[in-house]
């Protein structure tokens, strides 16, 4: 029915309760990143240390989506930035930055292993692992692994990951990063 095709914006707006400060779904291109990045910068005066961490976590997660999401923003023949979802939640005790994107099933294993390894390490262990990764002189790697380690260092919390299988080719990968206030 025609009526069922109406998107309920009111429900969408209020379903995400007041603690959701940013929600975005779409391509993580330059414009989107600037807009969201500048918005987070605007929060900085209220809690400089935590907000700066939120900004850093946002940049790493967003650049991961832009580069590695299995879903791309396709305009005609042009393959643009990766597509994903982002929500930043403002809880009384902490911020939570949540992102999700499609990932090829064949890439999933290494990412999960990496996150699990990261979650077994304390701050010093993470810094040591990061130094080892940085030292590897592989010029072509863009450093997504270091990005994950840095997320854990910056946030001082474990990486909370979740995988929802979609089909034989892809899964939806969610990562939640908590930043204490």
């Amino acid at each position: 029915m025609e009526q069922n095709n109406k998107f309920n914006l009111v429900e969408y707006h209020f379903r995400s309760q007041h603690e959701v400060v940013v929600s975005y779904k779409g391509p993580f291109d330059k414009d989107a990143m600037n807009m969201i990045g500048n918005y987070i910068r605007g929060l900085i005066s209220m809690n400089p240390q935590a907000s700066k961490k939120v900004f850093k976590v946002f940049i790493e997660l967003a650049q991961n989506i832009a580069q590695y999401s299995a879903e791309k923003n396709i305009i005609g023949e042009y393959v643009g930035a990766g597509v994903g979802s982002l929500v930043i939640v403002d809880y009384p005790e902490y911020y939570q930055v949540v992102t999700g994107n499609l990932i090829d099933n064949e890439d999933l294993g290494p990412v999960i292993d990496k996150c699990e390894l990261i979650n077994t390490l304390d701050k010093e262990g993470l810094r040591k692992l990061k130094r080892e990764q940085l030292k590897q002189n592989d010029y072509e790697r863009t450093g997504a692994d270091i990005g994950l380690i840095q997320l854990a260092i910056t946030s001082d919390n474990p990486l909370d990951i979740e995988v929802k299988p979609i089909d034989q080719k892809c899964s939806f990968f969610t990562i939640r990063v908590k930043i204490n206030k």
């Binding site: 990143m33 990045g37 900085i44 400089p48 790493e60 010029y139 863009t142 990005g147």
Partner: protein, 132 residues
């Protein structure tokens, strides 16, 4: 040899400001670094350093970065390794890293760079690098 000057941008996929002086040997990297094309950007800086170092003159490198992402950190390390190599081959090198003293994350990053590169890096608190 030409100086290398790149005007950075802020609030628009931030590119750091580069000021490399071929006369004085004072090189500065300032601002925030989270670019779209990190490798291309830093390759230009590294190529300039190679050319400058071929002349055998002293070099002072000042980092004044208030933020850099992880893909930039790899390239920054290449600069530090290059400075270390120059020093090991007899070049005169001074490396200063200015940072906001409330930014303990940055302080640790500098410490990690020092451990990896074995380069002496002077960490210097500078409140002008504070985020506001």
């Amino acid at each position: 040899m030409q100086n290398l000057e790149i005007k950075g941008s802020h609030g628009d996929y931030d590119v750091p400001t580069v000021s490399f002086n071929a006369e004085t040997g004072v090189c500065e990297l300032k601002g925030e670094s989270y670019l779209e094309k990190t490798a291309e950007f830093y390759d230009r800086l590294l190529a300039w350093l190679d050319e400058y170092m071929a002349g055998g003159k002293p070099i002072t490198f000042n980092f004044r970065l208030s933020y850099f992402n992880t893909s930039s950190s790899k390239r920054i390390l290449y600069i530090l390794l290059k400075l270390k190599e120059y020093e090991d081959n007899g070049g005169q090198v001074a490396t200063n890293w200015y940072y906001d003293e409330d930014d303990t994350d940055m302080e640790e990053e500098v410490e990690d760079f020092r451990i990896i590169s074995n380069l002496e890096i002077n960490a210097i608190p500078d409140s002008s690098l504070r985020w506001e």
